[in-house]
Structure formats: structure tokens, C-alpha cells
Symmetry: C2
Subunit: 337 residues, 2 copies
């Protein structure tokens, strides 16, 4: 039994991130991480007539790019684990329609990237698969129209609002050697601390991140300083400040070890992105682009990556409910110590 705590398992059989690919939109390509992506779009429509079709095509491009970089073909892949934010996850489904691979659909909102890595690592670690693709995407224009206001409305964004990343990432997990290994998986519980402000997702998601992070440290025995980087998915500036503050009160100093994909992907001052990036594609494109490049360069040896998701829809919040959230964490290591 590889369970080492209520929420944490240790993956005993080696599971590698063999390769990964990240594709982003125009605005993301103008941000600080521009050189880390495999493709920066010059047209966020990708030539499609609707934004939903654009996002699905974006995810498909990321999946094919990851396959290509990993030197694998569709027939080599045992499962694709994927999902996205669009109602009924059509970004993933219309991507997968054109592929010939068994598919298991996930919904974890913006936690999807690490949810897929968690399940993927268990499927390989359990001996059920040799190669698994983990993919997700988001698109600013599908998210705005579905979760907020029609694009044409030009609604004002409050300072706590985040900017949904147009981007997709795909990681090819494998039982064979790769860039780095997934060694521990800490799965989140659904946490709702009563935040009901749809324009302050960072504050809603931070308690879920804290819950999973404390479980991870307690159950693994790791300290923050055991990591080169503790990377959250898309808490953004406000959620990250809450995380660092409240984790400090619990005795965990994250101040110089934490970063957040939503803080990293945009230059907030120049790009007018308020509290930072968000969306499934935020963690996916930063992890599958910049972070895995840093592993390749030898600049990172051991990180914890924890994508966070807000699990509401706009209607249930209009019905008076607050926002339940979740965070799934995985340890990625260059080599097992």
C-alpha cells in the first residue's frame, strides 16, 4: 500500500513526465514567459467560427505537440485524461473526437491539470498504463461569455478579478525515462469558506490550497524548504497573499519558495490583468512550458505543483450559494533522493 496519509500517496513504481507542450494566445505570448511556450498563437480564433471550437482546437494542438515532442504516436497512449471549463467540457470532447485513444473525462475546474497528473500517475503507478496524456485548456473568450458577460458588453473588471488565460498544456506521463518524476500525490477535499464573490476567485480558492498544502506537509514529512518551488495554479496576487499569510500563521514560511502561475504568466502592470491569470490553461501552460523547461535546464530539482479550482457555476451563486473549491498537489522531482 503506497498510501502514506489520509490524502497522500507515494508513487512507488517510477512515473515520469516524459515530455510536455504548451500553447498560448496572443496576450500570453506578450507576457514574461513568452519564450517558454511551444507555440504562441497569432490569432486566438485559430481560424474557427466560434470561441468554443477555437478552444477545442487549441487543446488538440497541445495534445499533438506533446505527442510529437515525446516521440509517441496515438497508438502508444493508453489513456487521455482531460477536461476544461466549458459547459460539459466540450473543449476536451471535441478534441478527443478526432483521436483514437481511450478517454477518461475529468472536471476539476482550474485544478484539472494536477487532477489529471494525479490520476495519471496512479494509473501508471498501479500498472494499468505505460503512457498517459494529461491535458487541459482555457480560453479568455469562452470563459468571459460563459462565466461573466458577453465580450461585446465591455464590462468593467474589479481589481480582484483575474484574467482567464488562453492556453493549453499537455503532459505525456510514462513509465519510461523522462524529464522528471511524479513521486507524491496529495488529493484535495472540497473546501468552502463562504466566499461568494465571483470576481475574487483567489480568495475563494486560497483556503482549499491551504488545506491541501498542510495535509501534504503533515503526511509526507516534507518542509517547505525541501522544495525548490511551491507552485500554485491560479490563486493570482490576492489568493497568493492570503496563502502566504495564513500558511505563515500555521508555521509554514512560504515567502521565498512560493510562486503562482497566475502571477507569472502576465506582467500585471503592463498587461492590465488585475489580480493575475486564471483558468485551467494557466497552470497547464506554465507547468508544461516554463516549469518543465526549467527542469530540463537543471534550474529546478524538486517542486510541488498544486492547481486550484473553483467548483461553482454562475447560476448557483446567483441562487445564493458560496463557492466550493479544491486543490490537488503533486510532487515533481528530477531524481528520487
Amino acid at each position: 500500500m503506497s498510501r502514506i496519509g489520509r490524502q497522500t500517496i507515494k508513487i512507488e513504481r517510477p512515473v515520469y513526465i516524459r515530455e510536455s507542450a504548451a500553447i498560448v494566445g496572443v496576450k500570453e505570448g506578450e507576457g514574461p514567459l513568452r519564450d517558454s511556450f511551444d507555440v504562441v498563437l497569432t490569432d486566438d480564433t485559430l481560424g474557427e467560427s466560434t470561441w468554443e471550437k477555437s478552444e477545442s482546437k487549441l487543446q488538440k494542438k497541445a495534445v499533438f505537440a506533446a505527442l510529437d515532442k515525446a516521440g509517441l504516436e496515438q497508438k502508444d497512449i493508453d489513456y487521455v485524461l482531460a477536461g476544461d471549463l466549458i459547459n460539459q467540457c466540450i473543449g476536451a470532447h471535441y478534441c478527443m473526437r478526432d483521436m483514437d485513444i481511450p478517454f477518461l473525462g475529468l472536471y476539476g475546474a482550474c485544478s484539472t491539470m494536477t487532477e489529471s497528473l494525479s490520476i495519471g500517475a496512479m494509473l501508471i503507478g498501479g500498472g494499468f498504463a505505460d503512457n498517459v496524456l494529461c491535458a487541459t485548456s482555457s480560453h479568455f473568450c469562452t470563459a468571459e461569455k460563459q462565466f461573466r458577460t458577453p465580450l461585446e458588453y465591455g464590462g468593467q473588471r474589479p481589481p480582484a478579478a483575474q484574467w482567464t488565460v488562453t492556453g493549453s498544456g499537455c503532459a505525456a506521463l510514462s513509465s519510461e525515462k523522462g524529464i522528471a518524476m511524479i513521486t507524491h500525490v496529495t488529493s484535495g477535499k472540497v473546501i468552502d469558506k463562504g466566499i461568494s464573490d465571483l470576481t475574487n476567485m483567489g480568495a475563494a480558492m486560497a483556503p482549499a490550497a491551504i488545506d491541501t498544502l498542510i495535509a501534504h506537509f503533515k503526511e509526507t514529512g516534507f518542509k517547505p524548504s525541501d522544495y525548490d518551488l511551491i507552485l500554485t495554479g491560479d490563486l493570482g496576487h490576492i489568493g497568493s497573499d492570503i496563502l502566504i499569510d495564513l500558511m505563515g500563521r500555521e508555521g509554514y514560511n512560504l515567502r521565498n519558495i512560493h510562486n503562482d502561475c497566475g502571477k507569472m504568466i502576465f506582467d500585471g502592470e503592463k498587461q492590465d490583468t488585475h489580480a493575475g491569470g486564471s483558468g485551467c490553461g494557466c497552470c497547464a501552460s506554465v507547468l508544461c512550458g516554463h516549469i518543465m523547461n526549467e527542469f530540463k535546464k537543471g534550474n529546478l530539482n524538486k517542486i510541488l505543483v498544486m492547481a486550484t479550482g473553483a467548483l461553482m457555476n454562475p447560476m448557483i451563486v446567483q441562487q445564493g450559494e458560496s463557492i466550493p473549491c479544491i486543490a490537488h498537489a503533486v510532487t515533481i522531482e528530477k531524481e528520487v533522493q
Copy 2:
């Protein structure tokens, strides 16, 4: 390696369905399977002010009923695997908010019940968990307003339309002895044969069922006659006829061995349910109620259950796309031969 084919794995470590529970609405409680459910509601609102909250409460009641019947507490459960049809799966999320169990969210539309059993069996079979809850739900009123027309509109239903089941089922999987075992898992690919009629889901889903079923027989070496029952999730009358017809042409005679949860749950003539029941809760409530009871009574020894899902949303069909579908199959056996 327990992989025996492109889409099929054999679960080597014993995985049991320890117990299960099914709760349904008023109309389902008037159908032929009325005596097989743990609870038949007398009020489909469950005392809630919105249908979404009603569905979430329904799923929660099924989860607690399964825990209770299994003699387990929340602390005994390693993961809940759940999802539903409502946008962003809020049925599952607002259920899980009140629980203290690691959660992995799934989206497989009406295939969710067997998707959750598939992943759950792998998590236990791989040594990552001892107890996993697999749950899903649907509610006629959440589905009508979201996928079709407002209830108050009173739209006419064409003969090929199915009736979304108000129901929820939860299966408690365990590494310890139970009612029956999950021995094989055949995971589906996303199949789209070009059907774009949202009122004929059976026809859209049948090709996915056929694809998975043929893979299952080829990869396991099983014949239809090896099973006491081949049970599909919610193809309904039209989809079932297509399945039997086209499988016959492929050399597999399912005529006396197949049934469909959507055909079983309603008396179509008396209950005006046209092509039969549908929704995640259709397979979930029939499997977790009637079918598991039949295993307990000794009337079933080996079945294949395969829930089918239509992976579109209404908007993408309005945008001119057809309906991609998927089917996941699991073999449930009283005792391994």
C-alpha cells in the same frame, strides 16, 4: 501489467462492490423497479428552493445511504469519484462540500457511473485506496431547463426523446469482501458518427456502445453468452435496437442477453416516457438498486455494465456540430471463475 488489450485491463487485485444505494424521484418510484430502490422520494424538490440544490441533496442522500449500508464512515473512504450533468458538475460539488473525503471530479455525461467504477477499480486495484465511493445523479428538472426548454414552456417531446431520470446511485468499492467483484474494465474512445439530433440521444450513443463492446469481446475473449446480462446505461429503446441490430451484423448476438437501464426504469406505455429513461442517474440508480439486489439474491453471476454518454452541450450543436459520445464498460462478477 494487467493490460490485456488496447482498451481493456484485468483487475488483478480483488476489487469488490461492497454495497450500493439508489434513490429516485416520484415518477421513477412508480415504474417497474419501484421495489429495488433504497428511497423513493415523495417530493422531487427535496425541500430545496432550486432544482440544482435538489439534485445536489439527492446525490448527498445516495452517498450517505451507501456509506450506511456499507457500514463505513467518511474517514474510511480514500476517494470519492463523482460527477453529474449540471454545468460545472455542481450536483457533485455541493454534495462534496459537506463531506470530509478527498474528491476527484469526473465528467462523462451519462457514462459517469461506469467511468467512476473504472477509475475506482484501478485506484483500489493499484494499491492506492482501500475504499472508494462512486456516485452520480441526474434530475429531470435540472436537465430539462439546462439542455432543452424551461419546464414552464411545456415543449412537445418527439418520440425519439428520452426522459431524464431523477435519481442518484452510489457504489462503495472496497478491497474487502462485498456483493460482487469488478474484474475487467474496458474504457471507451470518443466516437462521433455525425448524429446531431439532440432529441435522439440513443442513436447518437449507440455507435460508442458498439465500439467499446466489440473492443471488450475481442480483448477479453469473452462471448456475449459468457454473461448473464449485458446492460447498457441509457440507450433507451431506439439506441438499444440499433445496438442489437449492428452488433448482430458484426457477429455478436445480444438479443436475449441485453437490456438497458433506460428501458427498465419506466413503463413506457403507461408512463409516457417515449424512448426510455436517460441521465447519469438512470444507470446509477438501476445498477446500484435493482442489479446489485439481483446479485445479492443470486439471480445474476456475471454481467457487463456499460454506461453511455453524449458529450456535447446544446450550444455546440447549435453551432453546427454533431454529438461525440463515449461508453465505458466494466465486468461485474459474483466470484472469479
